[in-house]
Amino acid sequence: MRPKSVVLLFRLFWLFIVRRVVGRGLLASPAARLSAALLLVAAFAGFNVLSYVVIRQYLGGTGLLEPVLQVANASVGFWVLIAYTLIRVLFMKADELLKLSFNLPVTNKERTMGFALFESSLVLLVTVFIFGAFSISTVLIEGTDYIPKVLASIWFPAISTYLLLSLGYYLLERALQALRIARLRGLVVPMVLAIGLAAAFPQTNEQSSQIAESYVSGREYNAPVLLYAKLLEDVGLWFSILVLLATSAALVPAIVAIAPRNYVPMRRFFAILPQWLAGRKFGVYILILFRSFETMVAFSFILIYSVFAWFENLVLPPYALALITFQGVYAFSNSEPLRRIATYPGRTVANYLRLVGSQGVLLVVVGVPVVGLSLAQGVPLEACLPVLGFCVSNILISTLVGIAFPPEKGNPFTVIIGVLLTLILVMIFALGLNVFNFEPITNTAIFTALNLLVVFYSILGMRRMERIARNEVVA
């Protein structure tokens, strides 16, 4: 394996992502690009300032920062697993991205490693977003002496956890290849990651409460996850760095050796509904939605969460249902060929209703058993109804995101940008309306008006894209 080829592929993937993301949908306009960049930078800066103010106000000078850092250390694994799951699931169908490299004189191993390096840089970005604010605020409050502590408690465990997760993933890939079911990895890998999350969550909670108890009773708490912090305290930073380097030196060659040599394309569709549904236009939209890989992933996550909630006796409203409503992001682009091949693609409003209606059917199909399970656990119906209202609203919003930032095949980055911007806006609206202290009926009316605005812009966007497509054909 030549490291030069790996670095070249890594740069190629980044170049592709950056160029393709900033040239499509709403981001094609320079003003929109600048606004989106400013919004993202402002959100991160705001996150940092908020974190600094909260930590200074509640923890500064109390001596409580030490156990809080330990709790953060214990939860690093869980958060890195979340970041890894997010990036891994998003890039599961990045075949188009990998196909770019098929014309280059590189081996499969080099391609896998180049992609692994690219993926690790993305996981690093997400981790910086999660832990960056906490690390910066802690150092600003306690001074530069705290830098080694933050490194040993947050960043060293994060690196080792990422390497361990990568090793685990490639081992799983090898096992799937040996069992000749590598094509199904789109379904198996997210399920394994979801099981990992379900197992890590209670363990992280348990460890956090043990750390808090030990601090109150004045006992010293030791656990394998606190290894780097313990080494820093007992021996020094240099030894902690040495152990990190030794662990990485053992894990990286193991990852290179285990990474599969051959490339198996992923199965993208799962035909689970009868084909006679294609007799009607609405039926085709349902088939497109149900057969897609993303629906299967969201469904498997909800299934695992529901089983976990049942066994752990988590009496919570069915929040997990929201996952299925994010399918709206792909709804428009996945059904786009359908409207392009038809001589008469139909009216825009009717097409929009089919897009949203098919997602409504999916919500009902998944929602009935999940809500039933919540009701059986003792969650009152009044607590489930707002979740369902949020799901319907999310279907409309994510469909608009899918129209404004159309995700491409093999370019999942567009989805991240769109979803991130939408989340920021939705959170601002929710917090802003909370400040106004309106009556519930007024809040409902405002949210209904906002949803109608979302529908209006979605139809407008679809009409505009159809007009562009028509002109492209004529030209």
């Binding site: 705001g46 601002i428 609206f429 802003g432 400040v435 106004f436 407008l460």
Partner: protein, 105 residues
């Protein structure tokens, strides 16, 4: 139709800007209020935030809008700004189109 669309876009942009200003002011006010029972105001007296202690020792927060006028002013200024920018942009586009046509002719 074109003007109606522009008007709706203006309302949407102004609403988003107003919400961002309200939330930012609210967060700033919230973290500048540290004493119990003291009411702090933000956004030129539009928002208030007051932490007070309940009988059982828990801290209750009272938040809300004391004067809607500054918020309405923020909304109006952003609407006027949007309309002005949109009109200038439209004129510039028309001017560019005319120049291009004159160049061809």
């Amino acid at each position: 139709m074109k003007w109606l669309l522009r008007f709706i876009a203006g309302l949407t942009v102004s609403f988003v800007v107003t919400m961002i200003v309200v939330v930012t002011s609210f967060i700033t006010t919230m973290f500048s209020a540290s004493e119990m029972g003291v009411r702090k105001f933000g956004l030129f007296g539009a928002l208030f935030f007051e932490p007070h202690e309940q009988a059982d020792g828990a801290t209750a927060l009272e938040i809300g809008v004391s004067n809607g006028a500054p918020i309405a002013v923020v909304f109006s200024i952003s609407l006027v700004f949007y309309v002005a920018v949109a009109s200038v942009l439209e004129r510039l586009k028309l001017h560019k189109k005319r120049l291009l046509q004159a160049d061809k002719g």
